[in-house]
Symmetry: C2
Subunit: 607 residues, 2 copies
């Protein structure tokens, strides 16, 4: 051992002890004939004092930032105590030292508030990882993993490894593939998730499975996606939806407790997908704040159980009259927004990411009057009526968007989130869990005139919808009228767990009957041959006593990011890739040798 203690453990009680520390030089401060060095390791920082006797040796071997130093000496009480760090009451009076390795001047400061830009820090990731901010993220990640494993172990789950070299069955996302040298012309695929394998484990009787496992998707990367990411992947047999919800909300509560010290004793809210879309315009609503959507107008084929209240906006305003959908939110305490502020909001909704043509507003003044951008189309009585419908109170600013259904709903949701952020209603240390339930089983793919599985092809319909699925031909005769097909109304036995407006997990009760699984594949446009080629093993397994089962997967990277109060998963991954899927530190991907092409019997076919 190069040390007797770490740089984080010496206290006033250790005074007069001999110690040897090893770590990195954080700072060097010379005061006349004595030199102070802050020595850093994973556990903390300890001050070293080099007296006059060591100055000649120090002058001959000058210390620099990030040098690796071993120092032996006596623990001494500091005269000038530092209350900010746990070791701040002591220092080491050094008697001998050794430079274990030197360091070039680092390209950026190894401090919380670094001067290094993103690209530089990615290239020198091994230095960025030294910063306390990044270290805390990885420590949190480890704590979340540890808490997860402990909870699942106590609940009889078994960690079972599933293979990484599997078969390409591109359903949703694109597969990464791996050419097989031993089977020329054939390829493995890297798993997008262990989905079918965990289902096979249920067929095999391992009734509670989990894995914290890498998954791979070859998709064009948005800011917060990575080509390889980690899932907490779970599956249970002999369960119904309610069992899964209880098991895994308790897991998240346990993580809150273990990792954040938070007792999440509240009941976890539940909401149907339809209500989420209706009230929040979003299937992963942030319920830390209200500001719900008021659906002033919507197309008759959507939300068929909801009452049409569009008469309250009846009038001369062509934009509302022509719009498929009109939705309002009441923003608290913003009635006194200036023209400049409301103009800025108009510009905000016109940005390409939102893409709306404009924004109407009604100020619910504190004196009881109303002031609106659409004054000339509506009477004060009508404005008041709208405000009442929106449950707005004096001081609120009502924001109204109009347009086509899908776009307007999404835009209002985005606007709500933006206003929530501006008003400080989305606090990092405030956590609200939500289950979103009863998703549609299918979506309609216009280009192919076929159904696609909204979740994935292994999700079962609600038990009450099973007959509808079995007894109807999935074929859509008239593409324009797909909404009239019975499949359009089938609900899935699926559930998403939402935390602060982020989907952190999702899953479903699976299909476990061969006939129903075949019907699903058929609905997705797979003929019998294709079914057999891609999923013959699963259909085969369903012939030999498959039990009812279901499960879910948490996005481990995202869960950690949210718990760490960050929007970016990249900060919680030790060695992330950039938006081009590159690791700029190791410079991968890269070219390979001719010998490798030759052995794999493939060649490039560059466009």
């Amino acid at each position: 051992m190069f040390r007797s203690h770490t740089c984080g453990e010496l206290r006033i009680g250790n005074v007069n002890q001999q110690t040897t520390l090893a770590g990195w030089v954080q700072t060097v401060r010379k005061f006349g004939s004595i030199t102070f060095v802050d020595l850093r390791d994973r556990y903390g920082i300890t001050q070293l004092l080099f007296g006059e006797n060591l100055q000649a040796q120090l002058d001959a071997n000058p210390l620099g930032r990030e040098f690796v130093l071993q120092a032996t000496g006596t623990v001494t009480e500091r005269s000038n105590k530092n209350k900010n760090i746990p070791t701040g009451e002591v220092e080491i009076t050094v008697t001998s030292f050794k430079i274990l390795n030197k360091s070039e001047v680092p390209p950026f400061k190894i401090e919380d508030d670094t001067d290094g830009g993103d690209d530089l820090r990615m290239k020198y990731r091994f230095l960025d990882l030294r910063r306390n901010a990044v270290k805390k993220n990885l420590e949190l990640r480890y704590a979340v993993g540890r808490s997860t494993r402990n909870y699942l172990h106590e609940n009889n789950f078994m960690d079972i490894e599933t293979p990484f070299l599997i078969k390409s069955t591109p359903e949703g996302a694109r597969d990464f593939v791996v050419p097989s040298r031993m089977n020329p012309g054939q390829f493995y695929a890297l798993p997008q998730s262990p989905q079918t394998f965990k289902q096979l484990l249920m067929v095999s009787g391992y009734d509670r499975y989990y894995q914290i496992v890498k998954c791979f998707r070859d998709e064009d990367l948005r800011a917060d996606r990575q080509p390889e990411f980690t899932q907490i992947d779970c599956e249970m047999a002999f369960v119904e939806q309610e069992d899964i919800l209880q098991m895994f909300e308790s897991l998240v509560k346990r993580i809150f407790k273990d990792v954040k010290g938070i007792d999440y004793s509240e009941v976890v809210e539940r909401m149907t997908w339809e209500e989420a879309m209706w009230q929040y315009g979003n299937d992963k609503p942030d319920i830390r704040f209200g500001m719900k959507l008021n659906n002033l107008k919507f197309p008759s084929h959507t939300f068929t159980t909801k009452q049409d209240i569009s008469s309250i906006i009846a009038g001369e305003f062509a934009v509302f009259n022509e719009a498929e959908t009109v939705i309002a939110i009441a923003v608290p305490n913003c009635s006194e927004y200036t023209r400049k502020q409301t103009d800025e909001l108009v510009e905000w909704v016109k940005r390409p990411q939102i893409g709306m043509k404009g924004l109407a507003f009604i100020k619910c003044n504190t004196d009881g009057t109303f002031k609106s951008s659409i004054d000339k189309f509506y009477t004060e009585e009508q404005l008041k009526n709208i405000a009442t419908t929106c449950n707005a109170v004096a001081g609120d600013l009502i924001l109204i968007l109009a347009g086509t259904e899908e776009k307007t709903r999404k835009a209002t949701s985005d606007l709500r989130m933006e206003m929530g952020k501006r008003l400080g209603l989305r606090k990092d240390d405030d956590f609200k869990l939500l289950w979103v339930l009863d998703f549609p089983l299918f979506e309609y793919a216009e280009e192919d005139n076929r159904w696609v599985a909204r979740h994935h092809p292994f999700t079962s319909p609600k038990p009450s919808d099973t007959d509808t699925m079995i007894n109807n031909n999935p074929r859509i005769e008239n593409a324009a009228e797909y909404l009239k097909h019975p499949y359009a109304n089938i609900k899935a036995n699926a559930y998403d767990m939402v935390l602060n407006g982020n989907e952190i997990g999702g899953g479903s009760i699976r299909i476990f009957q061969k006939e129903l699984q075949q019907k699903m594949f058929e609905a997705l446009g797979m003929d019998t041959e294709e079914q057999q080629h891609k999923f013959g093993f699963l259909l085969g397994a369903f012939e030999y006593g498959a039990p009812p089962h279901g499960g879910l997967a948490f996005g481990f990277d995202r869960l950690c990011a949210i718990l760490g109060g960050s929007e970016s998963i990249r900060d919680f991954i030790a060695f992330p890739k950039n938006n081009s899927g590159r690791d700029v530190m190791i410079d991968a991907p890269s070219t390979i040798d001719d010998k490798q092409f030759d052995e794999l019997q493939i060649k490039l076919n560059l466009k």
Copy 2:
């Protein structure tokens, strides 16, 4: 929940309770108007009793083997108790039942003693996994993983995930590569181990890292190799070899305790590589039994510290006289082997896997006389002398092999292991750990006339050999005399952990100085450009304060297999591949679509 209890938990104390069980039908036995069913799940087997009242329903819905059944009833004391299973004192008097899913007749018996051949069981792996024997293996694997994580957590190790999509730097084994769609013409590689990443984590200050992680090697598969396998991968900073040995022998002892209930209180033996080769002919000796090698003759350039005793076999026997090496083992209690038995041993060493031309023997008869296959070349006095040298006692059978050094040594080792097996000296439940130390740092690659790293290019020389490495030109001028090059004698700071004759783990203290690492790469024949292309990131990291560090990796699959008393790792992997690297269950690898080729900008180039 489809059940109130599992099939493994009901006891006599539960009598008169209502229960609902769900599981698989193991057996159906009909006796007149009552039917007994053994219902099986992960936790055990419980007997169900279907009375007369349910026979009509059973006749209408006949149960078959592996049907998935849910049954509700009352826990009842059995009249005919089964002492062999924990639930054997009770049965369930069924009041209602439901067939949750049917099953075809399985292609083999789901029992410990199955009638299914290897190929069939691989194809129907989801059924093979139901067998108790296989389940126990996976449970043991989970227990080993859990024990490992707990121990490492208690010792301040952090589980940090390293990337799977990295860079191809083929050094030892062949890489699996992954074409990058976003970077056409470029490839990722799947990691053969997280070696360089864990070293970067040490440079980053995470001083105790571990991961239980999949690794990949595209090698032609021997019986006990898999293209994807799992490592317990560990690294520590600020440590010397002794720290690593202590930390990880304690880990293995902890696993023995947690998983097998074994208190391994003995000191873990240590042996240099040279002694292992000298005494056992093998760098992973099985020290559960003696029968050590007696080196009657060996080439003078090997084992330079050992005494030449070849005079004791001096004589007229041309085979010994012409042989480079003559080695004997004394096999206890076999002096009365018949001619048939000794002939069979001669045939055994002549098999192509061993490849020797013959085998000499000396029977140390219990009456004090000697009888040998080489009687006519040696006097009884000489035979006695050889026997004494071999520490043979009356009743021993001395077996002697002669030939070239490397082949003879290996063959004697194989013969020793074979005799140990035949004599029952290699017991599954007897565990003996051993550290093998002080390996040579380099081997010599004749075809390229260069050095290769025996362990890997990141292993450091012994501190006392560092100067030899730095101060000599690695170039071998005269290939025939490579043994005279100073590099031939450099010892590595490396260690292997051996359990019962299997290498279960290995590692080294790493190079952490840029200059030494460059010297190593140079010795392996890499010029500066190639060093920079392949390992520029590591050489770069060593410029910024790399601490002394080292680590090791355990072969998780093999460790589990040995603890489970098996020779085959395949039995301890949920979904293994066959010797052609195929998963015959899912039928992978397989062809991919034209669209995938097109997007990846590659094409086949089949020979």
